[in-house]
Amino acid sequence: MDDAKAKSFSPFGNNEALTSESNTTETLRNAAKYRDRRKLHDYFIADMDTHHFETGSWNEIIEFVEDPILRAEALSFKRKPDSRLGTVLYHANGNMFSQSVGGRIPHSNLSPGEPRDDTSVHPDVVPLRRAMDSFGIDRMILFPNALLQVGTHPNVKVETNLAFAYAKFLTEVVLPGDPRLKTMALLPFNDPDACERMIEMYGDHPSIIGFTVTSVRFSPVQDNKYMRIYRMLEERGLPLSFHAGFNWQDGYLGQLDRFITMHAISFVLCNMVHMANWVIHGLGERFPKLPVVWIESGLAYIPFMMQRLDNEYLMRQSEAPLLKKLPSEYIRDMYFCCQPMERTNMKLLEATFEAINAETQLLFSSDWPHWDFDAPSIITDLPFLSETGKRNILGENARRIYRKL
């Protein structure tokens, strides 16, 4: 036996599995090794979709609710010990959060028990900083979790009040904690007047780089009531994003009784519906300078949409009279966040990259800390992508589109 070599091995990690109480730095230790090995600090990396655990700070957020009746109602729930979220404002999808695969993926529960040692910033900032440092990320764009479903709340006032309360909480409490943190504020899309007020209030805020429609909703994007909103964003040079989510309450998706199938379809279907309406109703013609970004639906659906819409458009042009080119060409003008990037067939992925002009249209996003997150290595390890393409996707495309990044 080689005693000298044998003695050089020592224990690590306390001989235990990682848990939801583990420090993000420890959970992402392998990502930090990769960061150093691949010299990721030489890249500008913008993570265009990371998730902030807003339900962990729910009791602080509801203090920012403008409507005194809703605020009082929410605060009355705050005192109930058995109320997970401490609010009546919150209804969508109940407690059916199965992201951790029965506890197999501990960080997907957003590490509520993780120690927060830096008291100079809000506790929510601490794990986000650890993630940015571990991945080598230069900008991190925050989105909520449960609030992605707020567009289905039966009371429109709830969506409006929560959108404003969350924007205020992020800009006043969380984002000041680290200059790398930014967000795309939620538009209360069921209340167009409030959307306009939101853009006027936050359009010039340095930490709000654009605005988001949460895609889980039943609000056709071609409705005339939204045209002023799109014009306001286009005039201000602020991108509009559509952030996907799941909806197990929808009857059609309710047939999918396992989380894997519901998630696989639901996160794509909502954006497919909005994209189809956006393209066929000629919104690309009406607002040609408005950057439109599709978030968290992966990439595999895009070639499907291109082929499907082109094929039917050629037979039914009269139903899309505003179009001056093929639907796929309007889709190619759009921008896409890559996560969760389907990588089980490299030939199909390469074809998808070509179809969407990925080198100029694709934006890196991690979706950290969710169960299907992607590290920057998914881009840097691609065998068919040029070095310029890698740099563009990891951050330069985003820097070109988002003037406040």
């Binding site: 990690g13 392998n30 197999r104 501990p106």
Partner: protein, 121 residues
């Protein structure tokens, strides 16, 4: 190949692990039943710390003779190592994914000599 002493077999019960590193290579050694299995702490998916994931019994689904789904249950004798980053599962015996045998973690030989567990690196 070098034999690295891991622990005395008697100190490790079913499901226990020992995590060892020389500062570069990270290895996890697991006891499953009476067998010892050793893997590199890097998942083939995205490089996650697979050896710091949970040991879980394999999930099985049982069908009736008419092919009706009767129930799902945990296996009593087959176990998987689950990568904590994304949930990829691997069989201890082979280090392969149960549904894709070409997806595998690197394994290392182990042996027990006079009650002491070694991994060969």
């Amino acid at each position: 190949m070098t034999d690295i002493y891991v622990d005395d077999a008697a100190n490790m019960k079913h499901g226990d692990r020992r995590l060892l590193t020389d500062g570069r290579l990270e290895i996890g050694v697991f006891r499953i039943g009476d067998a010892f299995h050793a893997f590199l702490n890097s998942c083939p998916h995205q490089g996650g710390p697979v050896c710091q994931g949970k040991v879980m019994p394999k999930v099985e689904e049982f069908l009736s003779p008419e092919q009706k789904s009767i129930r799902m249950d945990f296996s009593t004798n087959e176990f998987h190592l689950v990568c904590p980053w994304h949930g990829y599962e691997f069989k201890f015996e082979t280090g392969t994914h149960p549904g894709a045998s070409d997806v595998r973690i690197r394994n290392f030989p182990t042996k027990v000599v006079e009650g002491k567990v070694y991994v060969s690196v």
